[in-house]
Amino acid sequence: MIISLTIILLCQLLGEVVARGFGWPVPGPVLGMLFLLAFLMLRDRIRRRVPEFGRALDSTGRGLLAHLSLLFIPASVGVVQRLDVLAEYGVGLIVALVVSTFVTLVVTVVTFVGVSRLSGSTMEAADDPTAGEKP
């Protein structure tokens, strides 16, 4: 647990150092996610010899993600400082959000289905765990 947490924080630290050091506009934690992904691949190789290595990482990661909603609250409460902005632009912002979300959903799903047909990677029975349950 404590080792896993240290590894996750270390990945974030590396991400921040690289992002700020090179002046990239990518947030440090996103780079940190890539570092952790690389570490997980490395871990599974080492694990063939040392089965105990980094075992708690998955459960620690899932623990952090279990109450993701909670972590958004402090920043979201900042809206109390932006009530004037919402009063002035609220209608436009809501219209922009609704229209944009609608368009994004349609464009993304149509692209995904279209390309998967063209590339021959349509949904296989093996991909769908509930395929057998359908009538």
Binding site: I8, Q12, G15, V26, P27, G28, P29, V30, M33, F35, L36, L37, L40, D58, G61, R62, L64, L65, H67, S69, L70, L71, F72, I73, P74, A75, S76, V77, G78, V79, V80, R82, V85, Y89, V91, G92, L93, I94, A96, L97, V98, V99, S100, T101, T104, L105, V106, V107, T108, V109, F112, V113, V115, S116, S121, M123, E124, D127, P129, T130
Partner: protein
């Protein structure tokens, strides 16, 4: 107020403890309410908590910086949580690799669509540039979206609230919309809602179908990455 009560309040309002407890308490109550309504999309735990904490701040005349002094400990965990998104991504790597071609194309097309459509509509309403910047990453998971806005000189608090609202809007919209379009590919349905509405959309997808949820989680992670890379460029083209 008696002197003793006054001094107690002075003490409490100056320590991080009080606002940490208020934040956690509001979340626990909001999460229970959401459960009681069977995770109805309109009963979003973040939305309920923000309203509750906002009312407490208003009633006690507490400023946001004072509140944040306490709540920042919770806020800090957003960074490690973003890093932890690598765990579900790595777990699903086989399914992901099998659908890699449609995913990559839909990812880039969807990501650009999300930015361009939001900023274009907002521009029609004549909004100033800082607000357009704050709106642009609205489909990205909050820690990343706020990081993008911060780097580009926008308003992170406004971004946080717009991201939350986008999640709620997408979660309400997705099921009726996909049924109307007669979309039966759960991978595609999940991927679309994860891309458009990040974690809140992903939670919704898991309620409908496990495969949709898996792909929503992947879309959320990948879109965070692609938007972080593409947004500065797309925004430059849109605003110049």
């Amino acid at each position: 107020m008696s002197d003793q009560a006054f001094f107690l309040w002075v003490y409490l309002s100056q320590t991080p403890l009080l606002w940490l407890v208020v934040t956690l308490g509001a979340y626990v109550v909001a999460d229970r309410v959401s459960q009681a309504f069977r995770r109805h999309p309109l009963c979003n735990p973040v939305l309920i908590s923000v309203v509750a904490v906002g009312l407490v701040l208003w009633a006690t005349r507490t400023s946001y910086p004072v509140y944040f002094e306490g709540a920042k400990f919770v806020h800090f965990l957003l960074g490690p949580a973003t890093v932890a998104l690598a765990v579900p991504l790595y777990e699903n790597r086989r399914v992901v690799l099998r659908a890699i071609v449609p995913m990559v194309v839909a990812l880039v097309v969807g990501s650009v669509t999300a930015i361009v459509s939001a900023v274009s509509v907002a521009k029609l309403f004549g909004m100033p540039t800082p607000i357009l910047i704050s709106l642009a990453p609205k489909s990205v998971t909050a820690p990343v979206g706020m990081g993008i806005t911060e780097a580009l000189g926008g308003d992170t608090a406004l971004t946080a609230i717009l991201i939350m609202l986008t999640g709620v809007v997408g979660s309400i919209m997705v099921t009726p919309l996909m049924n109307a379009l007669r979309m039966k590919d759960w991978r595609a349905r999940g991927f679309a809602v994860g891309l458009a509405s990040h974690g809140i959309g992903t939670a919704r997808a898991f309620q409908v179908h496990s495969l949709a949820g898996t792909f929503a989680g992947i879309a959320m992670g990948l879109n965070a990455l692609v938007t972080a890379l593409l947004l500065p460029l797309v925004l430059k083209l849109l605003l110049d």
